[in-house]
Symmetry: C2
Subunit: 396 residues, 2 copies
């Protein structure tokens, strides 16, 4: 263990994950890492750590020359952004789990990271404990990835599992997910698919070298699903999952979107239940690989953060090798996808947007269409903003 660095950590946030990290570092002296100061928002809360460790002044960490690593585990993406920028300027390595902050500022942060030659690791930001980023970055760096298809949000997967298996309604299932600590403090981030699309934009960087904002990617959450959709899925032997997709559609073109999807039982994703995450990585050589594990909760997230901390001892950095590839990948919206729609009688559906309509069915409760639509049309279809339209893609 030659060139191992002693890590002196300034920790931001002492929620479930922060406390988990603190406990594990206490119990694992071999990591050569210790927390010197912890920055919190509310000084008066009771904490399971010595009072002397805590501060509410972020600069007392960021300006401390002894601290060489910032571990940022706070909810507030704007505050996280400010902290990370100052940490870069002060030459401190950074571990973050804040997918929103990372996804929204990735281009700028990577530019700063390059200038300062500082490690900036965020494995915990995508799929909790599953080493997705590390493997895309290191292991699949030479192989042509044909696709990435993943359940990347544990909270919505938990809700969908409970709705499908225990026949819970949406609100009850959401409440359970929140009580168990799987949901973001603002549940809209989960159920509207924003958390998933944040993760997808990070994945696109490491899988294909594509830099894009989450807002450039088509996404819908699970909040507009109708109970009747589950009945349809059940009859067809399908599961509804919120799936983040990136597919190589030829000539350095990538189609990318987050949509509720029908998944059949031959897919590995069908068997991903509760708060688990799973990603299928399709490659030219290795065919399909499946990585599966807990995507949410205290210890799985702690596990990923600790792996990043451990990697810092050896000065590990993401290299973003695919971004340096002379053949640039870009997002494409030309792909056609097969979708299911269910909607109320009064909904205004623009049928001209579909390339073809395969099936059309109505009963006294609800109307249904199964049709093909291009991502481009889907992206621009303002009529889809109608809250009572449910859209589910058939996952190929």
């Amino acid at each position: 263990m030659s060139n191992q660095q002693q890590l002196t950590i300034g920790l931001f946030g002492f929620g479930v994950v922060g406390e988990g990290i603190y406990q594990v570092l206490q119990q694992t002296p071999s990591l050569n890492a210790s927390i010197k100061t912890i920055c919190i928002k509310h000084a008066d809360k009771e904490r399971n750590a010595p009072t002397a460790l805590f501060t509410t002044d972020e600069n007392s960490i960021l300006d401390d020359p002894e601290i060489n690593v910032i571990v940022e585990l706070i909810d507030d993406a704007d505050a996280a952004y400010r902290i990370v920028k100052k940490a870069f300027a002060n030459k401190k390595a950074i571990v973050s789990a804040n997918k929103k902050m990372i996804a929204e500022h990735l281009e700028e942060l990577l530019k700063i990271q390059k200038e300062h030659a500082i490690s900036f690791l965020y494995e915990a930001a995508v799929c909790g404990s599953i080493p997705v980023i590390r493997n895309l970055e290191e292991y699949y760096d030479n192989d042509l990835l044909s696709s990435f298809s993943g359940i990347v949000n544990g909270s919505t997967n938990y809700i969908l599992t409970k709705m499908s298996e225990d026949k819970l309604d949406f609100a009850t299932a959401l409440k359970q997910a929140q009580d168990l600590g799987f949901a973001e403090s603002n549940p809209a981030l989960d159920i509207e698919g924003i958390d998933a699309v944040n993760k997808l934009s990070i994945v696109l960087k490491h899988a294909y070298g594509i830099t894009c904002l989450p807002s450039e990617l088509i996404h819908r959450g699970i909040n507009r699903l109708h109970p009747i959709d589950s009945i349809y899925a059940g009859e067809k032997g399908l599961q509804i999952k919120l799936v983040a997709n990136a597919k190589h559609t030829g000539e350095q073109q990538i189609a990318a979107y987050v949509l509720p999807a029908f998944v059949n039982k031959d897919s590995q994703l069908y068997h991903v239940r509760n708060e688990f995450n799973g990603t299928i990585i399709g490659s030219k050589l290795a065919d399909e690989q499946f990585l599966y594990g807990k995507g949410a909760g205290r210890f799985p997230t702690s596990s990923a953060v600790l792996s990043d901390i451990a990697a810092l001892r050896y000065g590990y950095k993401y290299e973003y090798k695919k971004s340096d590839n002379p053949l640039k990948y870009t997002l494409s919206y030309s792909k056609e996808i097969k979708v299911y729609l269910s909607f109320n009688a009064h909904c205004d559906i623009n049928r001209d947007d579909f390339t073809s309509i395969e099936e059309s069915y109505s009963n006294h409760k609800r109307h249904f269409l199964i049709a093909y639509i291009s991502l481009d049309k889907l992206n621009k279809a303002t009529w889809l903003n109608n809250q009572s339209i449910s859209l589910i893609v058939f996952n190929e």
Copy 2:
């Protein structure tokens, strides 16, 4: 892409994997890697590459100062050992897929690797395309691994799948596996569990820092399974799989064995079919993670070899961090496992070896026992050498 090295490769072996590597490197100039010379055994075979590349003289590669990487893909473990040792001495980085050679000489090879500070990578030796070694080495290096449980031999898994799903007999299923190129050229290595235990001994090094010879580990293959065992499995809703296990049994003690196992449908391993491999990594923090992909065949193996070649551009080395851990892990044989035995009337079973016998059943064809036995007793039970005794562990 700063410190990227130009790789000039000397390739040993031009079978399906060697040829695959050659083709991909030709098509991927961005890898900065080219094959200068290929050493083969039979000069007179037709090859899909320019004649000028080939040699039958291994020293013309090993003594070539221009060649800085040896990719060793030959079947003959003794020849591979000789080649790798000379490559180390001549300061050439090495990529190998030869699990037998690596498992049998690991201690010595790692000593030499350390002396010469040379990269020696072998991801393809365990689970083909699945990045098992890299993840054990890098990602799980700080987390306490409670268990490793994996289907690591694609050939036997293919055979067992065909026997279970298509009701093929053993010989026909084996022939199919060989025809499809999944089996080792000597099928005994697969079906007797030798290939799997070679891989397990490599896994133990990276998961727990344990150095052991495959012969120190309990192992049985699938060649003594009886057709009636499949009927029993079917009735109970179980699958028979050849599973490599390592379990933390407390106080730095690891129980490790390769045995046919009954797997129930709640286990991820149940769904691993045909030539696929899958490994469940249990950890204190991340709970269970599952890595799944193709474990055998031309392209999956090529994929792993290429990932190793790509990593060499950045001077990547395994660090064997767990071996440097002051708390040493050792193999333990005290664990008790629950086993199923089926055997013929004349078999001499020493019932005193069992801690307890749970069930005992006979019919006119076959006798059955379900019992608990310690690994120590199992290891020493010479009566188990009887070819007509089938033993299957219940995978917990």
